[in-house]
Structures are given as structure tokens and as C-alpha cells.
């Protein structure tokens, strides 16, 4: 001890006076500063002692934390699932474009004429013709069936006219009138509004998203109840301590503090556990998904939780921990009286 002190003084002579100064200022700050440090120390003590209590009963703690971690990882797993599906459809734009698939026997020249005549329609802004060859090239690139298509002897794709109605034509009835008008044309095999199937896909996605949200809500409630019950048991185990603290003048706030920190730790640690669970699941899934994506020649890559989402997840679970503890304490502490 002595030797190390000497060394310090030799190495760093001004260390001593500086330390003295700070001590003096704390004293000069008077009772208020002293109490502020005491308050800070209380919080620090509660923070670490509550963690210590969790470590002291490893078996119970691990069981509780595992249940919570699984619940939280389920919630975030669903979130990732929806995010990934959304990624698939993300590059689809909504428009009121109409696709006219022409009959097989319609020639390119005939199709051009038809396009010209449609272009003259006052309701139409633009018409784009996609020949069989262009369609094939596009299909090869985006569909993922490229190699399979090369095997075909004959191009099965029809000529397509992409008709873009004027912006003024936004009401449904007008668009449907136009659609029916095209359907009656002899050259047209199928007339379809792009909007329609995008809408369908989007409503399916919306349902999935809603489902995930409801599920997360339920899992959140489960986490809340599990943490609440854990805190209730803890409160029960430490009842003597609570009663004694009350008798010597502890406010409910003072009594609550260590339990709130316990709730925080439970939420925080299970959030971190959940992240690891999700990470492991994603690692397992990544290769098969990438292989599947490769088979379809798609550019699909599995999305993982971003840094912000990770912080949000752990933040949410910590907040649920504190909230669950608080709710239980609020109701239980009022009934705790000494016998």
C-alpha cells in the first residue's frame, strides 16, 4: 500500500493536492451536495445489488429469463418475417397502369396500329408496346426462370401494351369503364389493372402486419405478466425487509427502487438473450434461404435486426420490465403492513 502510494506521488506529483481540493469542494458544497451524492449512491447500490440478487439465485433467474427471452424473440422473429416479406414487394410501385395482353395471333405491326389508335384516345396519357422478344428478355432477368425458359422452343409470351391513363382519370368508375372498353377490343386477350393485384398483395401484407402487431401485443402482455409475477415473488421473499424499512420511515419510493431495478435487469437481460436467440435462428436460416433465392436467381437477402431495431427491442423489454415491476409494487406495497 505504502509503496504504491509513494510511486504515485513520484510519478504524478500534483495528484495529491488536486484530490484534496475536490474533497474540500464537496464539503464546501454542504449538505445539499452530500445528499445528492448519497442519492446517487443509493441508485448505484440498488442497480448493482438487484443484479447481484439475480446472480445469487442462478437457476430461478435463468428459467425466468429464458421464458422471457423466448417470448421476446418470438415477437421480434415475427417482426423480421414481415419485414422480409415486405422487402420482396418493396420495389413494386402503385400505379393505375393497365396491361393489355394481346392474342397470340396478333402481329407486331397490328399491335403497333392498335397502340397508335389507343394513343389518340383523350383519356390516355401514354402507351408503351412490349414485343414478345422484349418481354422474354425482361422475364428472363426478373423472374428467375431464365435457364428454364431457354429450353422452350417457342416464345409463349404475348405482346403487351402498357397503357397509362391520364392523371385526371383517378376515380374507380372511370378506370373500370376504360378497362371494359379495352376488354371488348378483338385483339385483347386479357386486360388487367396493375393496381388490382398490387392492392391485393398489399392487403395481404397489411393483414400479416396487423397479425404480427397483435401477436407482439400479446407477447408484450405476457412479458409484462411474467415480470410482474417474478417481482411479486421477490417482494414476498423480502417481505421482512420491506416491513422493517417501512417501520424506520422508508417511503414507498425507497422501497420500490431496488425492485424496479430488478425489473429493469430482467427485461434488459432477457432482451439481450432474445437478440442472441434471433441471431442464432437467422444464422441457421440464412444459408437455406440464400440457396432458395439463388435457385430463383433472385436478389433476395435475408434481413436481420438493424442496430436501431436491436436498441428498440432491448429498450422495449427493459421498459416492460420496469413497468411490470411498477404495476405490481403499486398494488402490493399498499397492503404490506407489519403484523
Amino acid at each position: 500500500m505504502k509503496r504504491s502510494n509513494k510511486n504515485r506521488i513520484i510519478k504524478d506529483p500534483p495528484a495529491r493536492p488536486v484530490r484534496q481540493e475536490t474533497r474540500q469542494t464537496t464539503k464546501a458544497g454542504g449538505n445539499y451536495a452530500d445528499r445528492l451524492t448519497a442519492y446517487r449512491d443509493l441508485h448505484a447500490h440498488a442497480l448493482f445489488s438487484s443484479l447481484g440478487r439475480l446472480v445469487a439465485t442462478p437457476f430461478t433467474s435463468i428459467m425466468t429469463l429464458s421464458v422471457l427471452a423466448i417470448a421476446i424473440s418470438l415477437a421480434s422473429g415475427f417482426y423480421i418475417l414481415v419485414a422480409n416479406v415486405q422487402q420482396l414487394t418493396g420495389n413494386l410501385e402503385t400505379s393505375n397502369q393497365i396491361s393489355l395482353f394481346l392474342r397470340d395471333d396478333v402481329s407486331d405491326v397490328h399491335a403497333n396500329k392498335l397502340a397508335d389508335s389507343i394513343r389518340h384516345d383523350l383519356r390516355i396519357q401514354d402507351v408503351k408496346l412490349i414485343t414478345r422478344e422484349q418481354a422474354m428478355a425482361e422475364f428472363k432477368t426478373y423472374s428467375g426462370f431464365g435457364d428454364a425458359i431457354n429450353m422452350l422452343e417457342k416464345n409463349p409470351l404475348p405482346i403487351v401494351l402498357k397503357v397509362l391513363p391520364k392523371h385526371t382519370l383517378e376515380d374507380k368508375e372511370g378506370l373500370e369503364g376504360l378497362l371494359n372498353h379495352f376488354k371488348q377490343a378483338p385483339e385483347v386477350d386479357i386486360a388487367q389493372m396493375d393496381l388490382q393485384w398490387i392492392e391485393r398483395l398489399q392487403s395481404i401484407l397489411a393483414v400479416a402486419r396487423l397479425f404480427a402487431a397483435l401477436l407482439n401485443l400479446m407477447l408484450g402482455a405476457a412479458v409484462l405478466f411474467i415480470i410482474g409475477n417474478t417481482i411479486r415473488l421477490e417482494l414476498h421473499n423480502r417481505r421482512d425487509e420491506v416491513v422493517i424499512a417501512k417501520l424506520v420511515g422508508a417511503t414507498n419510493g425507497f422501497i420500490r427502487r431496488p425492485f424496479l431495478y430488478t425489473g429493469f435487469w430482467i427485461g434488459f437481460i432477457s432482451g439481450v438473450f432474445a437478440w442472441f436467440i434471433v441471431a442464432v435462428l437467422m444464422l441457421i436460416l440464412r444459408q437455406p434461404v440464400e440457396r432458395l433465392s439463388g435457385l430463383y436467381e433472385g436478389g433476395f437477402h435475408l434481413l436481420f435486426l438493424s442496430a436501431a431495431e436491436t436498441v428498440a427491442m432491448i429498450g422495449c423489454s427493459s421498459a416492460l420490465g420496469v413497468l411490470g415491476a411498477w404495476v405490481v409494487l403499486f398494488f402490493q406495497l399498499q397492503n404490506t403492513v407489519s403484523e
Binding site: R35, I244, S338
Partner: protein
């Protein structure tokens, strides 16, 4: 310091436990509270400890009408009192120092002040040097003295003891009583619930006697 005005306490299950209790303990006064078991001693102490409220009448502690005190203010009333129990009510997973320091920690005192006061309180009950021991490593008399140190560490104007010598032999009891006498001499109001008649006779102080919920003497 402690004043009861026609206090009644009624429990729905057992009816009136205390009836028309009136007395006044002045600052620096020391009194015994006695009576057969079930006479209402514990209930009276619980009313003073503000763990319960009276059904009728008024209780004044240090001039404050307890009926007027809101629930969230009760902890601050309790800090004016030191309680001592027959079963000591110590925390067994904390050292003697931490047990005695608890009221100060709760009141938000700083480190140095806590250490100074705890040492002073332990010195008063002759437990210097036992700070780092755990309560279960101490004898009954020593544990009771830890309880007393905890009760007085905050320098409260009122000390309330519930059968403080119940588990102690006569010699230790006399020691504890001597301590209480010392506190009284520095102006602390002391109320001791006991049915140890010999002890009461030795000390010759005011006696509040409860009989079936009513005060019959004092």
C-alpha cells in the same frame, strides 16, 4: 409528545380493541405500557407507529394530528420515532453496521455522516468493534442492542419499545433499561410496553395499564 384523545380502534372481526384511550406523554417523559395479553398493547403501539389509523378520536405526535396526515407523509412521521421490538426485527443478510445505518440511508444521509452516527450509536450500546458481524453471530442481548442502536441512530424525539426485554435474562434487561433511562435524560420521550412487573417496580415510573381495551391507570 404523544397524546391520545378519546381514541377508539375497532376491527371488523373483533370489535373494539381500544376504547376511549386518553393520555399525554410529555417531552422527556418515560412510561411503561402494561396489561394482560390481548389488552390492546400491540394495537396501541401500531397506532403510534402509524401502521394503522384510529377509528375514532385523535392522536397527536409531536403536535401533529395523525388524522390530518396524508398517507405519503407517514414515512416522515415514522422518522421521528425509534422502534424496538421483542424479536429485534434485524436484517440477517446485512451486517450490524448496515442494520444500524438503515434509517440514515433511508433519510438520505451522506456516507461520512452515516459512518459517524452509526459508530456513535454502536458506542452508546457498547457494541463498538462488532460493525462487521452479522446479527445471527451475536447473542440475544447484543442483537437487542443493535436494535436499540438502530432506533436511536437518527436521534428521534420518541422511542417506543415493544417487550424489549422479553427474551433477555434479568441482568441484560436491567442493562437495557439503564440505556432507556439515559435516553430519557437527554430529553427523549420513551414508551415501553412490557408485562415484566419486577422491572416496572424497580424503575418507579409512570405506568399506563390497559385492561380489555381501556386505560385503568396512569
Amino acid at each position: 409528545m404523544i397524546r391520545f384523545d378519546n381514541v377508539n380502534k375497532r376491527y371488523p372481526e373483533t370489535g373494539d380493541v381500544l376504547r376511549n384511550i386518553s393520555f399525554h406523554l410529555r417531552r422527556g417523559e418515560m412510561a411503561f405500557l402494561t396489561g394482560h395479553s390481548g389488552a390492546g398493547k400491540s394495537t396501541l403501539l401500531r397506532l403510534i407507529a402509524t401502521m394503522e389509523r384510529c377509528s375514532r378520536g385523535q392522536i397527536f405526535l409531536d403536535g401533529q394530528d395523525l388524522n390530518q396526515v396524508k398517507e405519503n407523509q407517514l414515512p416522515f412521521i415514522r422518522r421521528k420515532m425509534g422502534f424496538i421490538y421483542q424479536d429485534y426485527k434485524l436484517l440477517h443478510d446485512r451486517t450490524v453496521f448496515d442494520n444500524v445505518a438503515l434509517p440514515l440511508v433511508i433519510a438520505g444521509f451522506g456516507h461520512h455522516e452515516i459512518a459517524r452516527r452509526v459508530r456513535a450509536a454502536l458506542d452508546k450500546v457498547s457494541l463498538t468493534g462488532k460493525e462487521k458481524k452479522y446479527p445471527l453471530a451475536l447473542s440475544g442481548g447484543e442483537q437487542q442492542r443493535v436494535g436499540i442502536a438502530r432506533a436511536v441512530v437518527n436521534k428521534p424525539p420518541i422511542i417506543v419499545a415493544d417487550e424489549p426485554t422479553g427474551n433477555l435474562d434479568p441482568e441484560l434487561s436491567a442493562e437495557i433499561m439503564f440505556l432507556f433511562g439515559q435516553f430519557q435524560q437527554v430529553g427523549v420521550t420513551v414508551l415501553i410496553a412490557t408485562h415484566d412487573i419486577s422491572l416496572i417496580e424497580q424503575l418507579n415510573r409512570r405506568v399506563l395499564k390497559l385492561d380489555h381495551g381501556q386505560l385503568v391507570g396512569g
